[in-house]
Amino acid sequence: MKHKLHLDRTYLLAQLKKMLRIRHFEEKCAELYAQEKIRGFLHLYIGEEAIAVGVMSTLCAKDNIVATYREHGHALARGLSMKSILAEMYGRTNGCSRGRGGSMHLFDKSQHFYGGNAIVGGGLPLAVGLAMANKKQEQQALTVCFFGEGAVAEGEFHEAMNLAVLWQLPVLFICENNRYAMGTALALSESETNIAKKASSYGMTAVQVDGMNVVDIEAASSKAVDQIRETNKPYFLECQSYRFRGHSSFDGQLYRDKAEVKLWQEQGPVIRLITWLKDNNRLEDKEISSIEAEIKDEIQAAITFAEQGEWEPISDLTKDVYSPAVSSTNTSQGEQS
């Protein structure tokens, strides 16, 4: 069951729409954060949309996804509704994690979307474990694990790579190399800055791909997915990308200069696909406007949905610490006398 690449106009327009959907959603999130509708940390995916869109296009419904705190784009591209994602960031019970998780912890079990992990590197062994479960149960599913290049320095990266290869488990590792871990440039973080080369030293196929080109990503991911399904072995994709915004809501961006950001923005995934479509496929501005209008409506509907969401009653505070139907536990606040 090989994944087929489509490169026709309709398909590419659809991919463009998916990226724009993430782009505009994230831009709106930044606004809503400024309005204090969204709180906590907010990590935007602007500039990296091609990766989630390209990779998700190559997956099946039962494949598992493990992501990081910068996962809005992954959730949208996977198929979680924008409504449930935004409601989650509003902290309402109609959010995809019932409001408990917020921006960094989007979950949807029905979509095999296993979060949203705010510990750098923490999702890597988890993904290997999901893949182990799939293999043991002889399910034809693979697990995709997204993580930043900053995670590569963590011990858990090393342990997860080794186990995945040693045990030959069906994991697709997607390193989103956006050049910075917060303010730490790759060269300050890794003695070997070629991450794919580093990954290949564990004995798995590891490839670098242009993370700004959604077609390239889909092609590379498609090849990876086919190989994993055929061999049940892990595969590693390093997607070279850039984040256009700050690391999170709190970031003065002292560590890089504006010229560098501008350079990368000029070759961003959205602008690149638009330019290409215009050059090769007679894409017209009004088509873009109409896509953007649709997206705008969707975002507006999501905001309405989120704002109408309920706050969970405080009496439910200790819900979901343990599974139900198991005897009760110490959850009082110490005022027992």
Binding site: N64, V66, G95, C96, S97, R98, G99, R100, G101, H105, F107, D108, K109, Y114, G115, G116, N117, I119, G122, L124, P125, L126, A127, V128, G129, L130, A131, M132, A133, N134, K136, Q137, T143, G155, E156, H158, E159, A160, N162, L163, L166, K319, D320, V321, Y322, S323, V326, S327, S328, T329, N330, T331, G334, Q336, S337
Partner: protein, 327 residues
Amino acid sequence: MSEQVLTYREALRAGIEQALIDDDRVFLMGEDVGCYGGCYGVSKGLLERYGEHKIIDTPLCESGFVGVGVGAALGGMRPIIEVMTVNFSLLAMDQIVNSAATLRHMSGGQVNVPLVIRMACGAGLQLAAQHSHSWENFYAHIPGLKVLSPATHTDAKHMLIQALADPDPVVIFEHVMLLNTRGDVLENSEVSMEKALVRQQGTDVSLITYGGSLHKALSAAKQLKKLNISAEVLDLRCLRPLDTKAIVASVTKTHRAIIIDEAWLTGSLAGEISAIIMEQAFWHLDAPVKRLCTVEVPIPYPSHLEQAALPQVEQIVTAAQNIMVAR
């Protein structure tokens, strides 16, 4: 109920075997659980009998393989993860605390992590400062986890099975000094894994304890009987959630309590028990609750110093005598 006499090690193994036989989703994974037979021999023979599909030797990478266990549990398996000893569990603690214990809540109840993590624990083998820790309270502090401390041979076998039936992550501590002891193993568990059990009825003072210290408390109770002091011995069994009802019931009866806990004094679970008694049974107390814990020193290698650091039977006896005449 028919019984068997087994060593604690054999009882643990019997529990694992029963779990492997009863549920095809169960597997055992950890460092040297297979070819070596387990660092303390608990899983000896299992690789031969159940194969490498079920008995999985891991490389040295505590965070990695515990995290893999969490993922496998998410994916529908029922892993038993052996972290050789609690001493190495710090390396896996992030996965236990920030993933296993937390995923259910963070996902708004969508996922759960039916994982069992076993660890050897405790001092007494002259293994010195890095290999003798008692860190039950680190895990007992974490919402989302359940923490068990089987002190009897029946519990050694059955608590594992009970833990596997639980939908949430359970950590089990197996005290190294118990491994070679022999005892009765009942065919079924006596009670739910979350209940404390009175192992010796008494009326004068409650000796509240768990794990490796239970047997010291029982010996002390015997000696105290000769001194006309009737000590009740409460085995906590489950360190999270704590069976506070049982604690309060015992102290309400005896009016005096001594907590014996192999952890270092400051910040130990013993402090928690004392605080619970303070909060829920203060007016029943005839004397302040005492704690007998390990002296606050990294465990020294020489036996006489190690033993001096750990709580001992004679100290329990003396403490009980003192508490009877307190004020």
